[in-house]
């Protein structure tokens, strides 16, 4: 009980540190994050849980950047209209990014905030890093 926080409680907590999960470029320029478990989170969260979150995020980004029939159709249609449809239509990528934002918020509410952590949507960091903010645990005291 002392360890759990809600998102509202977190606003009264202080930030202890931040962890940055960098991009994984081994498969090229597609958006993937490293699944390596950061050492700073060892005391806070289960490794399995963390890796599952990262893997889900990676899968979502892969879906956004997938070369499939739908993206080709979108591309060809855009080309034929001199790319003016981008002004009116939301691309598949943008739709998936919204899904990702919702997923991250959901993860924050359910899993990370009770443990005193907060995930920042990578799109707000230019898809460079996944920023995890570690909050001080008020009940335990400052570290």
């Amino acid at each position: 009980m002392a360890e759990t926080h809600s998102l509202q409680d977190l606003r009264q907590a202080a930030v202890a540190s931040k962890v940055f999960v960098q991009r994984d470029y081994t498969s090229g320029t597609i958006c993937r994050f490293q699944t390596k478990f950061p050492a700073e989170l060892e005391s806070r969260i289960d490794k399995q849980q963390f890796e599952e979150t990262i893997q889900t995020l990676n899968n979502l980004y892969a879906e956004a950047e997938k070369l499939g029939g739908r993206s080709y159709l979108e591309g060809c249609l855009a080309c034929l209209t001199a790319y003016t449809i981008f002004l009116c239509m939301e691309t598949h990528y943008e739709k998936v990014l919204k899904k990702i934002a919702k997923y991250i918020q959901e993860q924050n509410e359910k899993i990370y905030a009770p443990l005193g952590l907060l995930l920042t949507d990578p799109i707000e960091r230019g898809l460079r890093v996944l920023e995890i903010t570690i909050f001080e645990d008020r009940s335990i005291g400052s570290r």
């Binding site: 930030v15 498969s27 090229g28 001199a82 790319y83 001080e136």
Partner: protein, 496 residues
């Protein structure tokens, strides 16, 4: 290259800010409007239409490009089309019209679209990267290595560290010195379109040069036809040329290295009535002009088919001289797949969020009052509601170090003083305002506001004493207890 560029708190700025009386009512709009992120964008870009359109700061030749296209096509439609419609078919101006629209639209899209600019690293992130570089075994006396080697598809690729953007550049990203931005999949900086050509606008650029090739070839063909038809009706080509308006050779002006040719054409056309044989020479020149633009299109078609960028091709990054095993790791080894990926593949939205609102006014030299918040709230109420928790928490997260410096011993008493402190920290920010360093200080305001959404009691607090009164004592207390524990980019001098 630590980003400890923050200066000491300037006592003069403190005095200056205390002269401003904080406005008590939060319903009244302040004189400072809320700023959008494009207004403090650090790169050398120009923004129009409130951030919707962006250009490189050096876009000098773009107006000329547009003029050339318009003049050329205009003359074609005015002088050649009537004759050709009468003697051939109506489809000639129709086709030319379609191509013209394609050319103009894709040119404008190439120029006005974000090419794939990467936002610069925030101070926390930059410090984390620095820490990793320093920890990788190098001593503090030797400058740490600023490249990182990674394996992409079993090939070694070196990632370079960008000192301006303070991050390791992703693969295929390059820093454009003209725009002062790191651009993803950087192709080249094109002065004719007045923008970089990168991941997000390469397809527009390619469509532009291809449709321009078609347009110029089409116009060239039509003019030849026009001359031929006229010469058949009169006594030879010379008389035909003399009959047509002297300006029609303007039709053949193009992009990319054609400025000298344009001047030639202007001179030649002025004297062609005097000496008809010049027109023939001009046609020859124009033929070579078309050759150039067609050559450029052909070159880029080759790049598209092999999934290369101009930058990589010029540097010879994946050339065979490095050995058999060195090939392009990004290529799909299939021309069709490469073309589809480059031209029809998915495109991420702009990463720099030009039209997003800043947490509050953080321009150097300006001090915002808390009355900004209501206007901020009014504009972003839905956003705050839907993303309120996340953004709000992030603003808490951002306000680490600064919170402690901003919360002086008596936060509840002198609001003016505290505002002065806030204003001071804003004022003392460097010329290139760091995204979160100073704004973090102001970030506590959205917190005030969000709190007011949650409880009327807090709303009352906000309404009646809006300036800097923090919502609840425990909150303030916690922030006071937060010391600069692991905050990496400590440049501020704490007040206590």
């Amino acid at each position: 290259m630590k980003n400890c560029e923050y200066q000491q708190i300037d006592p003069r700025a403190l005095t200056a800010s205390t002269t401003r009386t904080p406005t008590p009512s939060c319903g009244r709009k302040s004189s400072h409007r809320l700023r959008r992120k494009w207004e403090v964008f650090p790169g050398k870009n120009r923004f129009y239409c409130d951030g919707r359109i962006m250009l490189s700061r050096q876009c000098g030749v773009l107006p000329m490009t547009i003029c050339l296209i318009f003049i050329t096509s205009g003359l074609f439609f005015t002088f050649d089309c009537p004759f050709l419609v009468e003697h051939l078919t109506i489809f000639i101006p129709v086709i030319a019209g379609v191509l013209f629209v394609f050319v103009v639209v894709t040119l404008l899209q190439t120029s006005f679209t974000d090419p794939g600019i990467l936002p610069r690293a925030l101070p926390d992130e930059a410090a984390d990267i620095e820490k990793q570089i320093d920890n990788s075994g190098s001593s503090t006396y030797r400058p740490p290595p600023r490249t990182k080697e990674i394996l992409i598809n079993d090939q070694v690729v070196k990632l370079k560290y960008c000192f301006t953007c303070k991050m390791f550049r992703p693969p295929r990203t390059s820093h454009c010195s003209l725009c002062d931005n790191c651009v993803e999949r950087f192709d080249h900086h094109c002065p004719w379109v007045g923008n970089c050509v990168g991941k997000r606008n390469y397809r527009f650029f390619y469509t532009f040069i291809v449709s321009l090739s078609f347009l110029t070839s089409f116009i060239f063909g039509c003019v030849i036809t026009h001359l031929t038809l006229r010469s058949q009706r009169v006594n030879g080509i010379i008389q035909a040329v003399q009959e047509t308006p002297a300006r029609y050779p303007f039709c053949f002006t193009f992009m990319h290295l054609h400025i000298t040719l344009c001047i030639w054409q202007m001179i030649l056309s002025l004297i062609c009535t005097l000496n008809p044989s010049c027109t023939i020479a001009e046609l020859v020149i124009c033929f070579f002009s078309i050759w150039s633009i067609l050559g450029l299109s052909g070159f880029h078609t080759y790049l598209v088919a092999s999934n290369l960028t101009t930058n990589e091709d010029i540097k010879g990054s994946w050339s065979s001289k490095r050995g058999e095993e060195s090939g392009n790791p990004y290529s799909y080894n299939n021309i069709f797949t490469n073309c589809c990926m480059v031209l029809c593949g998915p495109v991420p939205p702009s990463l720099i969020d030009r039209r997003g609102f800043l947490p509050s006014d953080d321009a150097p030299g300006t001090v915002t009052s808390d009355a900004d918040l209501p206007s901020f709230m009014a504009k972003n109420d839905p956003n705050m509601c839907t993303q309120g928790t996340k953004e709000f928490l992030e603003s808490v997260a951002h306000s680490t170090v600064i919170q402690s410096t901003c919360a002086p011993g008596a936060p509840k008493t002198t609001p003016v003083t505290q505002e002065g402190v806030l204003g001071t920290i804003t004022v003392s920010s460097p010329s290139r305002p760091p995204p979160t360093g100073c704004t973090a200080c102001q970030a506590q305001r959205p917190i005030n506001t969000s709190c007011s959404q949650r409880g009327s009691k807090q709303a009352d607090l906000h309404t009646h004493n809006p300036t800097i009164r923090l919502p609840s004592p425990p909150y303030t207390f916690n922030h006071r207890t937060l010391v600069l524990s692991d905050a990496p980019d400590v440049g501020f001098i704490p007040l206590h």
